[in-house]
């Protein structure tokens, strides 16, 4: 029964992949430094800490991410939530090496990218990513 064996292999491999994917989903990591022009045209307001979210129309968790980030921005006057459609800003997508949606960047008041995450993040993780940037001002 090679077919049954193949099915077992596929399901096992997918489970391993799925567990890794789930563990990394929404986790913040330090972002690589970007060219100063990478964020041009996105409408980032200087002076604010920005939650920059890249979304696409074929992405269900983008909506949940959008709701969460808008809610967090609503409770911090210094935080701005900016949602960008990837199709309209492919240049920025390439410059920032965005590969999946939602991808989220946290920018400090100087407009520098500090951390990034892909997938719906936990509220506590967003809050702790914001914390040092808000107190540094």
């Amino acid at each position: 029964m090679t077919g049954a064996l193949l099915a077992l292999v596929v399901l096992t491999a997918a489970t391993v992949f799925g567990l890794r994917w789930q563990a990394r989903r929404g986790r913040f990591t330090a972002a690589a430094s970007t060219a100063p022009t990478a964020l041009d045209g996105l409408g980032i307001r200087p002076g604010a800490v920005t939650l920059l979210q890249f979304s696409s129309r074929l992405c269900a968790p983008c909506r949940a991410t959008s709701r969460l980030l808008a809610d967090i921005a609503g409770t911090h006057p210094a935080v701005e939530h900016l949602e960008i459609d990837v199709e309209a800003h492919l240049a920025a997508v390439r410059a920032l090496d965005v590969r999946r949606t939602p991808t989220l960047f946290v920018l400090d008041r100087g407009g520098n990218v500090v951390v990034r995450a892909s997938g719906l993040p936990a509220r506590a993780d967003v809050e702790s990513a914001l914390q040092p940037l808000l107190t540094a001002a």
């Binding site: 099915a7 399901l11 997918a14 489970t15 696409s56 074929l58 269900a60 997938g119």
Partner: protein, 150 residues
């Protein structure tokens, strides 16, 4: 247009089961039937696909009101991707290329299972990669790589 999230998971589990049976039996006809389900889901939306109807009229009445709904476009895109793999596999199985059939079915099974078990969203992962690969951006300024010879 939105769909009940539970209905999407239900459809993904049924798809997973169907594709496992296809792999075990090597049945091109069953894969053809599953491909038809993919096609109906991609064309008419998940709510009106056979699995969606089964959920709406048989499963949902026993579950109570929906707690969460999702936009319809992302799963529809996934059905379209499933259809492409399903058709490739059907051609393989029915025209005497069982290896092609098994590979295409395995790919579809992996995606359906990841969606069912982990909420993996195919559109989130591959749509942007497709866009990045197929569309040029003329507005992007050419940046010199640091350290690269001029």
């Amino acid at each position: 247009m939105t769909v009940d999230s539970r209905g999407l998971r239900f459809a993904a589990w049924l798809t997973t089961a169907a594709l496992v049976v296809v792999l075990v039996t090597g049945s091109g006809w069953l894969l053809l039937a599953q491909s038809l389900v993919f096609a109906l889901g991609a064309i008419f939306g998940l709510r009106r696909s056979p699995y969606g109807l089964l959920f709406r009229y048989v499963v949902a009445p026993r579950l109570g009101p929906p707690r969460e709904s999702e936009p319809e476009a992302p799963p529809r895109f996934a059905q379209l991707v499933g259809l492409l793999f399903g058709l490739a596999g059907t051609v393989g199985y029915l025209l005497g290329a069982p290896l092609l059939g098994a590979i295409a079915t395995s790919a579809a099974l992996a995606a359906a299972f990841l969606n069912a078990a982990f909420g993996f969203c195919l559109g989130c992962e591959i749509f942007l990669l497709l866009r990045r690969a197929t569309r040029r951006t003329s507005t992007v300024p050419t940046r010199k790589q640091e350290g690269a010879p001029a």
